[in-house]
Symmetry: C2
């Protein structure tokens, strides 16, 4: 059935744990608006929607864009197959006219966006969706869900990898978030500099390196800790990581070193005063000649505890809960707003800027363009947002919007490594204060440039403010 | 391929947006432990794993179990197909012996658990998984992911529906959480008393009622607000809900009433001082004769703002971000621990209790049983947990563990309505203080009864404490 609606050139199959259709990862009202606008003759007005943050989470100095690749994949699978349409009709979400329209639905507009791994600031136009109202309105929820989640994880992850410096961070939070959110979280963390994940599906689906050795249950399964370690070493080799805090840490370390003649790969500490314990364990390992055995720490780490452990002899961090819950900010609060629309459904109808006027929810109307203004040394100075046309930049300035979809054709896919490398480059441009863990303001300001053109001027829509 | 491993009687197909296999929604180390235990000859020791909360989130008075039905469904689809096994071998996660074992994997043990919608407290043994070590260890992450997420949402949702009383709560948070977590969140919220969701996939997959009408973009699409309202009314009828805060709320209300001759279903307010605005809008509606038109409010609501609006003339609450992020507690912190295991792989080997000894991470060894102790008036007094055998109860006490899986056969599935009704019943048993929104301690205490049997006594495992 899915194959019927798949355009030529798009594989009808999907990988394990992916979804046959993403079309219902959508709020009811999107279909209702479609129905009403089709009935009213406004559905095919050209419309520009924008996905953007009104602000950063309190105290955060920058944010990280993630979810772009997943969003493009969701767009590819956004199709209304027969079963989906039947459900919508049965529930009276849509009428038969709307159902006919949905059966042929394929997003045929264009999308520009900040590429994955890029840094963002308040007001950054992360996605600009240009198509008909009907096309664009249906994508609101699925795009927001992906961006709000993945960017929240990447933003937290970036702070952790900054703080960890050269020491690797490993993502281990799958168990503390929804089972498929976990896969997206592992991917987002990797973009923001994590080296590996515990999540196997993220390994299969996205090629993220996976890692892991043993839990306390493995030690407890055996009659003695030594028997457990011996079994693990026999199966995994001496380079494995032994979990040493089930009973007595120092006894466990001695056992591990003895069983490997000092060639043990690593030990993992998962409880207690990690800073003190790491020091004691390092001393013990060194005294036993196991100078190359590494120490990995886990146990409710976040960017702050990672910072506190910077002076301890730790070789790697396993991060779980704090990562997958965005370290206090599990969602970004991105919104998806209509910012411009045509005055009629004619192809060459005038495009006018629109925005809800509100005292507590700021939206700036008009199609946006953006660049990162850099000083002569290549350090970021401002997020410059042009309304209606691109802002003027010099050779140091970096345009931020990249075309992701061109008249329905997805053109913005890239390997995950590209997003990861972009993140490192983009983060390296930030002023040094960006990397502080303390609460702060966005590290560069956002400047709106209004070129005063009628079609793009949010101040001329002529609508009164809400009282 | 999936069909090969599907036992008779289980449909090889899956619904849209479900996953062909859940087997890799798993941490790498589970496979590594399997590999090492198969190699070491301990994999087939009978083992009892327990999923439980060490504590409630700070300030919370009770928690709500959700995810049971989803977990059973995940278990049904937990199969290692050829592609999955190939990935594991290619990445050297498993060796060929382990791969052979995985190809035949089907959980053949038994599982007991708190049924869905039930209330829980610190230490409640939410799942008791009894099988071989190999069988049980593989389920750790996927079970924790589902329970930690869904129960976090249900726990927050229950506080909101308690506070809202007879006024309906509608789940609208899909856009603020990962796109498939959103579907689970809508389901969990429904269990905890929400009346509907905006999420269409939750409607299709779980039968949760869905609702929604229009966003600001719909009004902005049209040349005038009146044109937008007229289009919506034409498509949806007079019982629809008009969003009235795009420009001037009072003007919009007047327009909506005029277009429907006072028969408008409802208006929605999404910004501003909702309490004041609701009062003003109610007065206006009444003065225009639209006495039956309802007022729905949305805009960053949580249990506290719902409480603050209790005196305002509001007819329903739409809740988004706070719900899907667990209102400050996006994960429950449930853990999955080995609590008892056999001394050998023989079928009748003795079962011994085990637990990691730690100062900062409490685990109690031994197979658990649980009942809710009720006083003569039927009010909950304590969570009584028996170690090794069921605690003695009288006729008022309510056993909490229900068999979910019987030697591999899933027996615990039930309609969502059963979980929802159970939640209402169970919540009604709690002491009245449970329903306060203020921070508090768990509303009843947890009592462990240790029957002193060797096989179940966590204090006799003979292992020293970690220093």
């Amino acid at each position: 059935m899915a194959a019927e609606h798949d355009p030529a050139g798009i594989k009808p199959s999907w990988g394990p744990s992916e979804v046959p259709t993403t079309a219902l990862l959508t709020d009811h009202y999107e279909l209702t608006m479609l129905r009403a606008s089709l009935r009213g003759g406004t559905a095919l007005r050209r419309s520009v929607f924008e996905l953007f943050p009104r602000r950063l989470p309190p105290g955060r100095r920058y944010g990280v864009v993630a979810g772009v690749g997943r969003a493009l994949r969701a767009l590819r699978h956004f199709r209304f197959d027969e079963e989906t349409i039947r459900f919508l009709i049965d529930r009276d979400v849509v009428d038969s006219e709307t159902a006919d329209w949905l059966a042929d639905y394929r997003f045929a507009g264009s999308i520009w966006g900040y590429p994955e791994g890029e840094i963002y600031f308040p007001g950054s136009p992360l996605l600009v969706v240009d198509g008909t109202f009907a096309e664009g309105v249906l994508l609101e929820t699925v795009l927001l869900s992906i961006y709000n989640h993945d960017s929240a994880i990447a933003s937290a992850a970036s702070r952790m990898t900054v703080t960890a410096g050269d020491r690797p961070c490993i993502e281990m939070g799958s168990r503390r978030t929804q089972e498929l959110a976990a896969v997206g979280a592992a991917r987002a963390a990797y973009i923001a500099g994590f080296q590996a994940t515990s999540n196997l599906e993220a390994g299969r689906r996205y090629g993220v390196p996976t890692t892991g050795t043993a839990a306390h249950s493995f030690t407890l399964l055996h009659d003695t800790e030594e028997a457990a370690f011996a079994a693990q070493l026999a199966a995994m080799g001496e380079q494995t990581t032994l979990l040493v805090d089930t009973y007595d840490v120092f006894e466990a370390v001695r056992t591990g070193v003895r069983l490997t003649q000092g060639r043990l790969g690593a030990v993992r500490l998962d409880s207690g005063d990690l800073s003190l314990l790491a020091k004691q364990v390092r001393d013990l390992l060194d005294s036993l000649g196991a100078t190359r055995t590494k120490i990995i720490v886990t146990s409710d780490l976040d960017e702050f505890t990672i910072a506190a452990l910077s002076g301890a002899p730790v070789d790697g961090y396993g991060v779980g809960t704090a990562l997958v819950t965005g370290s206090g900010h599990p969602t970004c609060g991105f919104v998806y707003k209509l910012v411009a629309r045509a005055t009629s459904a004619d192809r060459d109808a005038e495009l006018v800027s629109v925005a809800k006027k509100s005292t507590d929810k700021i939206s700036v109307g008009g199609r946006k363009f953006a660049l990162r203004r850099l000083d002569r040394a290549g350090v970021a100075e401002a997020e410059v947002i042009g309304i209606g046309r691109p802002p003027d930049g010099d050779e140091n300035d970096r345009p931020l919007l990249k075309q992701l979809v061109d008249h329905g054709e997805i053109v913005g896919e890239e390997p995950l490594s590209a997003a990861r490398e972009r993140h490192f480059r983009s983060r390296a441009e930030l002023p040094i204060e960006a990397l502080k863990m303390s609460r702060g303001e966005p590290v560069i300001e956002t400047r709106y440039l209004d070129h005063g053109e009628d079609a793009a001027n949010p101040y001329r829509t002529g609508k009164g403010s809400r009282s």
